[in-house]
Structures are given as structure tokens and as C-alpha cells.
């Protein structure tokens, strides 16, 4: 018993010491969760920045949950609806999740900074009718554009269409190139409603009627749909992307482009970092602006925003983290290291240096930044509309059926109109 007594005594003393000295400090640390998806290296960059923040702010610890893009789109809305979501998340469907977003205005030191630098993009994060809330900031502004395998053009001995070339010019050229070099994918367009709208806007779609209600299937839309349909018929587009999966499933051609199987790949600026990293010296590639049509040459804008949620138990701490990350030097470093087009107006004006970018990536970023300046108001409105993803998904799902030969284009148009009406009605049901 005597041998046991000193052990118990020292254990009790250690416990008291831990409570007395370690206890309060540990209790003061607030743990926040941030859900994050990555296209390239931005997750690593964000982890670095958060580590630095934590070194300067010992009272806040941020757990960075790096999740797949699909989880952000499918699981996060469920988590938020059940009140079990993270404190912050990097999201793409900013309009769809706006009802869960935290208005940080009362918590920010300088809301004016946010208005000045993120103003046009804040509209994308607000609920309909709200003109003031500040829920977050853009981690990147994206613009659609095409990546072209320059080496394949050179091998085929065919000149690349120049600036302001139309979709038809590009389609003709890539078909010739693919025929000569035996590339299986002359033209690839992401199976995504957003990317389809890059084509539709340039074909003159207006998306909304005069009274402001969605009017999806107009002449511009039909022109774009017909092009996609015809390209599949003629083999310019392979059915492997649009015709091989069902519903609203996204299907990109990243791997095919990296393997030099695609002559021209319409995707967007977010691919730059990974192409620069994975293609290396395998072949030469360039980014070209969105091709043109009767509606102009506008790209579709988009992007991802880091948004705070009102279900957080620690709004003040969340605002501190957001202020740090949205500050000019930190955000400049983030954009620069991630090779992203800035979604911060001040930084966009000053320009971002991309010292780690390869020559191809640097040129691509320059091209995309220039494209961002020429985005049409229709394209901005399409992206900012709260139900835009309902429209994008209906378009992709029904056009996919037409492309695979299951329905006609006329049937697809009727279904798109019906799907959009039905889903908006369901969303508005109280």
C-alpha cells in the first residue's frame, strides 16, 4: 500500500496541474471546420495559409476537410439542411446554398473592403432580393475557354483558327486535324450545363423573358443544341462524353486531353494548374478564348467562393478567419500559388504574378484574364441566377438523351422547359 501511495499522489497532482494550467488555455481554443475541394494544388496552398493563421491566432484552430467536388455538391446541402454543416466551405453553387450563408457584415472590421473588391460576386452568394449580405469571397473567378493541343495542329500541318474565330471554324479545323493525326476526340466539351451555356450565350441565348422569368429554350439555345447534336452525328464530338452517362452527371475530358487524344477541349481556367503539372513537356498546348457566334464571344463566368454558414457556433471566429484569408496579401498569394484568375477586383486590376507557372500556364492565365474582361451581361446574369443550376442540369440531362439517340431535340426542348418549371415550383413549395 505504501508503494502505491506516492503514485496516486503524483497522479492527482499532475491532474490538478493540468486543470489549473492547461485547462483554461485548452478551453479557449475554438475549433472551426472548413470543407474544401480542389481542382489542382489549392488545397495545399490553403492548408499552408491556415497554418500561418493558426500561428498568429493560437485561439483558433481550423480543421480543413478536403473532400471531393461531388461531396460539396451532394453531401454538403444535406449537412447544412440538417444543421450539421461545417463553419465554412468552398462551394460552387453559391445561389443554391445562399439560404444557409452567414451575413458577416456586423462581424467584419471593414465591410467596405469586401463591397469594393468582391461586389459583383457577392450578388451570386445572396438570396433573391438581398442586396447587402456579405457571406464570403471568391477563391477563384473562372472563365470558360478552350485548351488546344498545338502539337497535333503542327503535326497535321493545319493552321489554328485565329482570334474571334467562330465555333464552326474551330469545328472544321479540329475535324481535319483529328482525321490526319487519328485523334479520337476532335472536339471535347465538358458534359456540364455551365460549359454548354458558354456555347449557348455565344449563340445568342437570352435565358430570361422580358418579365424576368426563365425562358430557357429560345433561338440561341436551339442553335447551340443543334450544333452539339450535329457535332455528335458527324463525329466531331465523341459520344463518350455526353452520350455515355445519364442524367446530370458531369463528365470531363481531362484525362483524354492529357493523353493527347483531344484536339480542342472546351473547359475553363481552373484546369490550367493541373494541365501545367501533368502534361509537362509531353506536348505543346495553348488556351484560346471562347469561340464566337451570333451572340458574341463571351465566356461563361463562374468560380468558387469560400462562404461562412449561419449554423456556425462561432461566428466571430469565422469572421476573423475570413478576414485574414480575404485580405489582399494573403489572397494574392493564394491566387498566385494556385494559378487562379483573381476574384478580387483590386488584385485583378493590379495583376497577379504567377512565378511558379510554366510558360504555357502563364500564357493561358493571361488569355483567361483577358476573357474575363469581355464577359457579357447575359452570361453574368445566367451565372448569378439562384436557379441557374436547375437550368444547367435540365439542359445537360435532356440534351444527353438526344445525343445518345433516345429522344429527338424537339422532345428534349419540351422536357427541359417542363423540368425547369417543375423543379423551381418544388423548390418554392413552402
Amino acid at each position: 500500500m505504501r508503494a502505491v501511495t506516492p503514485i496516486i499522489t503524483s497522479f492527482a497532482l499532475s491532474l490538478i496541474a493540468a486543470i489549473a494550467f492547461g485547462g483554461p488555455a485548452a478551453a479557449e481554443t475554438t475549433t472551426l471546420r472548413m470543407a474544401w475541394y480542389s481542382d489542382g494544388n489549392e488545397g495545399e496552398v490553403m492548408a499552408d495559409l491556415l497554418k500561418r493563421f493558426n500561428e498568429q491566432n493560437k485561439d483558433i484552430e481550423i480543421v480543413l476537410d478536403q473532400v471531393p467536388y461531388k461531396a460539396i455538391n451532394e453531401n454538403l446541402p444535406m449537412q447544412l439542411a440538417s444543421g450539421q454543416g461545417p463553419d465554412m466551405a468552398r462551394i460552387v453553387d453559391m445561389g443554391g446554398l445562399s439560404r444557409y450563408a452567414l451575413d458577416m457584415r456586423p462581424l467584419l472590421k471593414d465591410p467596405g473592403y469586401w463591397e469594393t473588391n468582391f461586389g459583383p460576386f457577392l450578388e451570386w452568394m445572396r438570396t433573391a432580393g438581398d442586396t447587402k449580405a456579405i457571406p464570403g469571397f471568391m477563391t477563384q473567378l473562372t472563365v470558360t475557354g478552350a485548351f488546344v493541343n498545338k502539337t497535333l495542329f503542327e503535326q497535321a500541318g493545319i493552321a489554328m483558327p485565329g482570334e474571334k474565330a467562330s465555333w464552326e471554324d474551330w469545328a472544321k479545323a479540329v475535324k481535319e486535324v483529328a482525321g490526319k493525326v487519328q485523334a479520337p476526340f476532335p472536339l471535347a466539351l465538358d458534359r456540364s450545363g455551365h460549359r454548354f451555356y458558354a456555347l449557348a450565350v455565344s449563340q445568342g441565348t437570352q435565358l430570361f423573358s422580358a418579365n424576368g422569368e426563365p425562358d430557357v429554350v429560345d433561338e440561341g439555345f436551339k442553335r447551340a443544341a443543334q450544333l452539339v447534336y450535329d457535332w455528335h452525328k458527324s463525329g466531331i464530338m465523341s459520344k463518350e462524353l455526353w452520350g455515355s452517362v445519364s442524367g446530370t452527371a458531369y463528365r470531363g475530358a481531362n484525362d483524354e486531353f492529357k493523353n493527347a487524344q483531344v484536339v480542342m477541349y472546351l473547359s475553363g481556367s481552373w484546369q490550367t494548374s493541373q494541365f501545367a503539372k501533368t502534361i509537362g513537356n509531353a506536348f505543346d498546348w495553348v488556351a484560346v478564348p471562347n469561340p464566337c457566334g451570333p451572340g458574341g464571344c463571351s465566356s461563361m463566368p463562374g468560380g468558387a467562393g469560400l462562404v461562412a454558414f449561419k449554423t456556425t457556433q462561432h461566428p466571430k471566429e469565422v469572421a476573423r478567419v475570413m478576414e485574414y484569408l480575404a485580405s489582399e496579401p494573403v489572397l494574392a498569394e493564394f491566387y498566385s500559388r494556385s494559378l487562379f484568375v483573381p476574384g478580387h477586383l483590386g488584385l485583378a486590376k493590379k495583376g497577379i504574378d504567377y512565378p511558379t507557372a510554366s510558360p504555357e500556364a502563364a500564357v493561358a492565365l493571361k488569355t483567361f484574364t483577358a476573357s474575363a474582361a469581355g464577359i457579357s451581361p447575359i452570361a453574368y446574369r445566367a451565372q448569378g441566377y439562384g436557379n441557374s443550376r436547375i437550368i444547367f442540369n435540365a439542359a445537360i440531362s435532356r440534351l444527353g438523351q438526344a445525343v445518345s439517340g433516345e429522344t429527338t431535340l424537339e422532345d428534349a426542348y419540351k422536357r427541359i422547359t417542363a423540368d425547369v418549371a417543375q423543379q423551381i415550383a418544388e423548390r418554392n413549395k413552402k
Partner: protein, 346 residues
């Protein structure tokens, strides 16, 4: 005298004796814990009577099933009569049979394009097609395999293990392996081009996509059904075969007159189980084809999943209504299985 108890004392001699002792020691705490329960259980038996004690023992299972099976079914039914996108039932407006009316609003049930919710009916048609082909192929190949594995062939144990092995794999793993084999630059196309053929885009052609969906499903699950049939084959009395041999009955006649009739109860179980599993198919086909091309391999369960979780407007009400419809179909199939099992017992 040693202070080691007789139970814990290691026994010299055989290893099995030592192991048995070790096992007895290991279960000692369990035995002690169970003995603690004796007095309250005896008291309960005195109070409610021995006959009702059965319900006490069934209670844990009832609670488990209630919480994890019947409660979700009830919640699903509640969701099916509500609308909107809210997650909690209390926040969802009651819409009565609106979701069911929407699902069943069809010009002709045989033509999905005339239905308001055409994707659901395409899913129903695809599932029906899948079930017919899959169950037929499953029963046929399982039977052939079981018959072969029941013969005295060399390496029988090895082959039994080989055929059962895919059953142990996760459906997602199975689908990913086959996707890798079947894609444009996959193993199969590499073999075809090596032999001088042209690449086949299996996932672009609706017929090929359905064929591979059925094939992969049969490949993955055949071992399980083979095992059931093998057990049935081994239960057939050997003297029947000996009598047939003495009568010089041809082998095909033995199969038709002895083996298949006596195996029929097992076949019924296999058919009904395969039907139920086929109607529930989701994971393998979803990973393999994504429901495409178009909606050529979209199954009902995929429709339910996408309507509830991956569509932009998460329409839980409509998905729940479709689940109720599928549940009724599965319930009927389960009744069939029960009926078949009872017939087997008789």
C-alpha cells in the same frame, strides 16, 4: 496444494486440451455476467409466466428492427406524402398523393416518353429488362457451375473457392475493375486490337452497356447462388443415382428426372432471391455505366438516389414515393420467396 484453480491450471498432454481450458478461462467473465442476470430473469418469469418470456428474449431484436427498419420505412412513407425541399418532415408541406399522381401520370405505361416523369418509367423498364436477363443468366450459369462443381473433378475445392471469390468483393470494386477492362483503352479493347479488330465503345452503345451490366452482375454474384444449388445437389440421396446407374439410365435423363426435380425447391429460392436483388440493383451498374448511354441502364434505385440526393432540387418527396412503389414490388417478391420456402418445407 497449488493455488491455481482447476479450470485455469494448464493440462499436460494434448494441445487441444490446453486450448479447451484456455477457452473456458476466456468465457469465465461472460458466464459470471450471465449468472448476475439469473435472479432478475427468474423474478420476471415468475411475474409474467414462462410462455411470455419468449417476448422478452425477442425484445432486443424488435427494438433493433424497429429503429433501423420500421422507423425509416415509416419516415419514408411520411416523406412520400409531403413536398418541397426541406429536410425535416415537420417543415415539409403535406401534399397527399400528389407525388404518386405525378409518378403515375402516363399516356401509356409501356412508353416512358409519354409519362410526365419519364426517367422513373425508363428506370422501371430498364430494371425489368435487367431482371429478366440477369435472373435467367444467373440461374442457368449457377446451375451449370453447381453441377460441374458437384462432380468428382480434380481441384474441386480450388474451383469452388474461385467461383465464390467475386462474392466477397465490394460491388464498387467489381464495377471499377470491369470498367477498367471495358473502357476505350481497356484490357478487352487492347486484346481486340491486338487480334486485328476495331475498338468497341462498349459504354456508348445501349445494347452493349446493358449486356455488360448484366454480365458483370452475374459474374459478381453467381458464386452465392452456386453455393445454394451445390448444397441442394449434395442433399440429394446418393442411392437414387446408384439405382439409376444400375438401370443404365442415360445421364441426361438422370438430370431431367432426378436432379432437377429434387433441386427445384433450391431453384425457387435462387430465382426469388435473384429477382429481389436484381430489382434492387444500383451500385455496380451506377459505377459501371452511370446509367448511360442516355438512360439505357438507368435503374429504379439510381433514379431514387438521383432524385433525392444528386439533383439540384433534392426532391425527397418524389424519391420517397418511388421508394414506396419499389418497396411494394419487393414485398410481393418477398411473399413469393416465403411461399416458395414453405412449399420446400412441405
Amino acid at each position: 496444494m497449488s493455488d491455481i484453480s482447476p479450470v485455469a491450471r494448464p493440462e499436460r498432454g494434448t494441445d487441444t486440451g490446453a486450448l479447451a481450458r484456455l477457452g473456458q478461462v476466456a468465457v469465465l467473465p461472460v458466464g459470471a455476467a450471465l449468472r448476475l442476470l439469473d435472479p432478475p430473469m427468474q423474478w420476471l418469469q415468475r411475474v409474467i409466466g414462462a410462455r411470455r418470456m419468449a417476448y422478452v428474449f425477442l425484445l432486443p431484436n424488435f427494438v433493433f428492427f424497429g429503429l433501423f427498419v420500421f422507423l425509416p420505412i415509416g419516415i419514408n412513407v411520411v416523406f412520400s406524402v409531403t413536398g418541397g425541399t426541406a429536410l425535416f418532415p415537420s417543415q415539409r408541406p403535406y401534399v397527399g398523393g400528389e407525388q404518386f399522381a405525378y409518378l403515375f401520370d402516363c399516356g401509356s405505361y409501356l412508353d416512358p416518353s409519354t409519362c410526365r416523369e419519364d426517367h422513373f418509367w425508363r428506370g422501371v423498364a430498364n430494371t425489368a429488362k435487367f431482371v429478366v436477363f440477369q435472373v435467367t443468366a444467373m440461374v442457368l450459369f449457377s446451375l451449370i457451375t453447381a453441377l460441374v462443381l458437384n462432380m468428382k473433378i480434380r481441384g474441386r475445392g480450388f474451383f469452388r473457392a474461385v467461383y465464390f471469390f467475386p462474392v466477397l468483393l465490394s460491388p464498387v470494386v467489381v464495377a471499377l475493375i470491369w470498367k477498367w477492362i471495358l473502357q476505350r483503352d481497356g484490357l478487352l479493347n487492347a486484346a481486340i486490337t491486338t487480334l486485328g479488330g476495331q475498338k468497341i465503345l462498349f459504354f456508348v452503345d445501349p445494347s452493349w452497356a446493358m449486356f455488360w451490366a448484366v454480365f458483370v452482375s452475374v459474374w459478381a454474384h453467381m458464386g452465392f447462388y452456386t453455393l445454394i444449388l451445390l448444397a441442394g445437389l449434395q442433399a440429394i440421396p446418393a442411392d437414387l443415382y446408384e439405382a439409376a446407374e444400375m438401370d443404365a439410365t442415360p445421364r441426361w435423363r438422370v438430370l431431367i428426372r432426378i436432379t432437377l426435380p429434387l433441386l427445384w425447391p433450391n431453384m425457387i429460392v435462387v430465382i426469388v432471391l435473384a429477382l429481389i436483388k436484381g430489382a434492387q440493383t444500383f451500385d455496380e451498374v451506377f459505377v459501371l455505366t452511370g446509367g448511360g448511354p442516355g438512360t439505357a441502364t438507368l435503374m429504379v434505385v439510381q433514379y431514387i438516389y438521383e432524385t433525392a440526393f444528386s439533383s439540384q432540387v433534392q426532391n425527397f418527396g418524389l424519391a420517397a414515393a418511388a421508394s414506396v412503389v419499389l418497396g411494394v414490388v419487393l414485398f410481393v417478391l418477398t411473399l413469393l420467396q416465403f411461399a416458395a420456402a414453405r412449399r420446400k418445407e412441405v
